[in-house]
């Protein structure tokens, strides 16, 4: 109770206690579903209920021995890594440009660059489906990589842009005055400083691609089905414990991404605090 803002009257204490109780319920609501399906993936039975009849790794065995699931995991990785790389390049360049660009059209350009995040997935997917089909980009890795890059790049622009805002432009000038070529100044001065921003942008980009399913639903052929796409079919048909194993694997990837991002943020704060 010592954390509370200022609790002098009983009514304030009641309000604060209520806030805490409601918050605990909301935290349970947020986290319990994710935690609840994890043990089910270790069940030895094939029903998705508690109590578990016994523990086993058979559903993970199922997952890793199934060509369908393994192919989808491979596809998610290929598309995720490729679109992350592409969006890092495009997004970083654009953020660098936007930071220096002074124009009354800038808010408009910025709104356009960020709009893929806001436009409903179905609209982007339908548009791409019509647009890519005649040029042979549906049912291809390239088409999916390009589409995911469009969705992921705004996150890189945002995170790199945020880092650039705290970037001291005098450092670039100092590098230039000491005889560094623009490319050298970028590589040895600017890049190391904005790297945390690029890295968090990359994590967001990868998470976006790794989680995306609407565009994949419209554009992927049987060969390009990703992990979320395979889960979508699985949930539609009949939820087997193999799906819970896939869910645990996906969640593990999310936790790793989140932990890396948090680590980057802490490091950044420490550096800022130290400097």
């Amino acid at each position: 109770m010592s954390d509370s803002p200022s609790l002098r009257t009983p009514s304030q204490r009641i309000a604060w206690t209520t806030t805490i109780l409601v918050s605990i319920l909301v935290f349970i609501f947020l986290i319990a579903p994710i935690l609840a399906i994890m043990p089910l993936s270790f069940s030895s039975g094939s029903y998705l209920t508690y109590p578990l009849p016994g523990l086993s790794l058979r559903w993970y065995g199922d997952f890793f021995n199934s060509p369908r699931w393994m192919n989808s995991l491979k596809n998610s990785m290929i598309i995720g890594v490729a679109s992350t790389a592409l969006s890092m390049v495009l997004g970083t360049l654009a953020a660098l440009g936007l930071a220096q660009w002074k124009s009354r059209f800038k808010p408009l350009v910025l709104a356009f660059v960020l709009s893929p995040v806001v436009v409903p997935g179905v609209i982007t997917a339908v548009g791409l489906y019509f647009f890519f089909a005649p040029i042979g980009l549906t049912g291809s890795y390239l088409g999916l990589i390009l589409a995911h890059t469009a969705l992921a790049t705004p996150f890189v622009v945002i995170t790199v842009g945020a880092t650039l805002q705290s970037f001291d432009t005098n450092l670039a000038r100092a590098a230039a005055s000491l005889g560094a070529s623009p490319l050298e100044a970028f590589r040895r001065v600017i890049l190391p400083l904005i790297l945390p921003g690029i890295a968090s942008g990359a994590l967001f980009a990868f998470a976006t691609s790794f989680d995306e399913v609407v565009i994949v639903l419209f554009m992927a052929g049987p060969e390009q089905r990703t992990l979320p796409r395979e889960m979508f079919s699985g949930i539609r048909e009949n939820i087997s414990p193999t799906i819970t194993a896939a869910a645990v694997i996906l969640t593990t990837v999310s936790v790793i991404l989140l932990a890396t991002l948090e680590g980057l943020r802490r490091r950044n704060e420490r550096l800022k605090g130290g400097g």
Partner: protein, 416 residues
């Protein structure tokens, strides 16, 4: 003398600076350009293409070109004259040979139910080109629908090259034989209800997110940073967990033999399993779960910015806690409430996956129908028109959102 030489050196310097600045600006633009071109190809172009499909109407014109030309001068009051019948007979012969009847039949059937049968039947029974002057007689003999004025206005109105037909249909409107815009037949007027449903579900989910998110954001903002960072994991972990995983989790929890029903049964609270999923309840619960972090995060940052000094000042001036909260604290959280609610609402409007997996037939939102008409029935015009309406709503709300956050969150603080 000195003044002159100073002016002489000043002008070139000014010009040089200006030139350097211009070069910098060009370089900056060149850096943004690759992304702009990329998005033009992978995002703006495709969406523009979709919007074009919402008004594009060239199928009938391509299959029945002579008929469309012949009908161009028709006043539409009476039946068209013999030339139109002859043109149609000639078009049908050509289209049958080319195998394109189905293309026009499909489009005309959208406008007038049963037209497919009329057109394909007529083409099939038209063994040869009728003698000059007997085209009308021949066609009417094959199908009496050709004596109907509506049959002909339908062809004329589908003559393109652009049409408002799909956009009107998306709003449950049609043009009648006289060209006036009227309400669509009740069995085809389903889209307003679907838009209203989409709107209602989004509104309900937004309200739930606000009710659940407000206390959490308040708690996180009031706690010292160490503890709030720890609790923030409860918000960020679901935020980062795959949508499919979360949707799957809710199905496992809520299905009739799921964890919740089993537990309630075991506790003796219920005898029969409750119907918790594949209905509106399931959709709202799962969507609230997915979207709640989008409410908590903007609320949290707006509450974090409120100085506790205001509340202390209010208290020291004699305001009771509730009054201070309602009149000092709450108004300052309004931008956060607005931003969070708009964000959740915008995202909810376009939801497809979650309702498709945890909703029943009566809970599907507009995105579901856009997808359905694109991939299943291939009514691309209608899919695009519904998409255009959804896009318009999203863009308008996003503009309001942009104004509200004034470039703070949405631009990542890049606005100078």
């Amino acid at each position: 003398m000195t003044a002159v030489s100073e002016a002489e050196t000043k002008v070139p310097l000014k010009r040089r600076l200006k030139q350097a600045e211009r070069a910098r600006q060009l370089k900056a633009m060149a850096l943004v350009l690759p992304l702009l071109l990329f998005l033009l190809f992978t995002f703006a172009g495709p969406i523009a293409g979709m919007l074009w499909r919402a008004v594009d109407d060239r199928e009938v014109r391509q299959v029945l070109p002579q008929t469309i030309t012949a009908l161009a001068n028709w006043d539409g009051k009476d039946l068209p004259d013999e030339t139109a019948y002859a043109a149609l007979a000639s078009d049908l012969q050509a289209a049958r040979a080319a195998g394109t009847i189905a293309v026009a039949a499909k489009r005309l059937n959208y406008a007038l139910n049963g037209f497919r049968t009329i057109l394909t039947g007529t083409a099939r029974n038209l063994k040869s080109l009728p003698e000059p002057g007997t085209a009308k007689e021949t066609l009417v003999k094959i199908n009496r629908a050709w004596r109907d004025r509506t049959t002909w206005t339908t062809i004329r109105d589908a003559g393109g090259p652009v049409t408002g037909f799909y956009l009107l249909a998306a709003l449950d409107l049609v043009r009648n034989a006289d060209g006036a815009i009227v309400a669509a037949a009740p069995d085809q007027a389903i889209y307003r209800e679907i838009f209203a449903r989409t709107f209602l579900i989004s509104l309900g989910v937004t309200a739930l997110c606000l009710i659940l998110g407000f206390p959490v954001a308040y708690l996180l903002a009031a706690l010292p940073p160490g503890r709030s960072n720890l609790l923030m994991i409860f918000v960020l972990l679901p935020f980062w967990t795959s949508l499919l995983v979360r949707t799957c989790a809710w199905i496992v929890l809520l299905q009739s033999k799921g964890v919740v029903n089993d537990s309630l049964h075991w506790l003796g609270i219920i005898d029969e399993p409750l119907r918790l999923i594949y209905n509106r309840f399931g959709v709202c619960v799962a969507m609230t779960h997915v979207l709640l972090p989008f409410m908590i995060l903007p609320l949290y940052s707006s509450m974090k910015a409120i100085s506790p000094a205001y509340m202390r000042a209010a208290a020291s001036l004699g305001a009771p806690p509730l009054t201070a909260f309602l009149r000092i604290y709450l108004p300052q959280t309004l931008p956060g409430i607005g931003a969070g609610s708009l964000l959740v609402f915008i995202l909810a409007l376009g939801y497809y996956i979650t309702p498709a997996l945890v909703g029943g037939a009566a809970d599907q939102m507009i995105s579901y129908f856009i997808a359905l008409y694109t991939t299943e029935t291939a009514n691309w015009g209608l899919a695009s028109a519904l998409g255009a309406v959804l896009l318009l709503a999203t863009v308008l709300l996003a503009l309001v959102y942009g104004k509200l956050v004034q470039g703070q969150q949405v631009t990542g603080g890049m606005k100078n």
